[in-house]
Subunit: 205 residues, 2 copies
């Protein structure tokens, strides 16, 4: 691109480093910001800088938090004996939105992915093993995305955790609500038959 201004070019380059943002989109976003007041642009920039400076990972569950221990881990309403293991903070948010889970979490910070050079040591797995080894955990729910990286991580976690002799469960995989049976892939459909549940359980609210 032929920029009329170095400042503009720098800003566009910064934006186009973001995932899914190409040069044309970046230019559109930068020009949008340029039409705003200086005040608003400062706020945009400073909010991001402050975020990175002050954000913490909860020292228990590694979820993103403003404090050294997150709200879920400090809450008296949560069941501290059940740990739900997830990939990242987005999954915590998704599960919290369901209002169906009352235990605590453990955020891995990613999934094992040899293709991307991410091994078990790059994730917060030791922290999880340590939490379970304290002997107060009654169940570990592995809530990972059903893809290759998720399954690899699932397998690894199971191997690490089975010595503690507590139930290790995974979230149910099957046909999503509103999904059409005939368009469901064979693996999902096959699994959903093998892991079928009693009618009463399935229809529970």
């Amino acid at each position: 691109m032929n920029f009329s201004s170095k400042l503009l070019e720098d800003a566009v380059n910064e934006f186009s480093k973001l995932p899914g943002v190409g040069q044309k989109t970046a230019l559109r976003l930068v020009l949008h910001l340029l039409n705003k007041e200086q005040e608003e642009v400062n706020q945009f920039g400073n909010t991001l800088i402050k975020l990175k400076q002050n954000i913490k990972n909860c020292s228990i569950c590694y979820n993103i938090s403003d404090h050294s221990i997150c709200e879920i881990c400090t809450s008296h309403k949560r069941d501290k004996e059940t740990i739900c293991v997830v990939e990242d903070t987005r999954d915590v948010m998704a599960i919290e939105n369901t209002s169906q889970y009352f235990g605590v979490y453990h955020v891995l910070g990613g999934l094992i992915s040899p293709m991307d050079g991410i091994g078990p040591a790059d994730l917060y797995i030791d922290g999880l093993v340590q939490r379970v080894s304290m002997g107060e955990i009654k169940e570990v729910i592995l809530a990972l995305s059903p893809n290759m990286e998720g399954d690899t991580t699932l397998f690894y976690l199971y191997k690490r955790l089975k010595e503690f002799n507590i139930p290790i469960t995974t979230i149910a995989r099957g046909i999503a609500f509103g999904g059409e049976l005939e368009y469901t892939d064979e693996i999902t459909l096959g699994r959903s038959i093998i892991t079928r549940v009693p009618y009463e359980t399935a229809m529970m609210k």
Copy 2:
């Protein structure tokens, strides 16, 4: 959304003010930035703040520039007697990329749009009229998008400029290269017959 952190929520809200960025996309972008080094996040934020602080509009053509007069307006290689009128800096970039235009520009800063409350007074039209009134301009090319706002602006500019008795042209509208004749809308196709050009002109490189 159920944020585990106020800092995170603030950053997501800032991003989701951008056009075409929803909350989920904003969250993805913020988490991407969180994985970067503090240095890089500072650079992102500060580049935007610096951009807004230091950017100028060229005092002649109103294009975005680092200096009070832009590179095109100061260049000795450009034909100062031909002005190409465009909506914004993106159009300048698009035309510069063609390497087919050697005159100078005039950036309106938008198009007349009564629906959005944008009238002629909100655009840099007086500056254009003044430039033309100096008597040194030999042609004004109106290069505006072929939509309702573009046509309204075209009509208004023509009315303001015709008293100076210089050629006022508009860029050709017609079927785009690679386009299919049978799928072209009737207005474009009809216009392209009325404004047909000699074979020799059309095939010129």
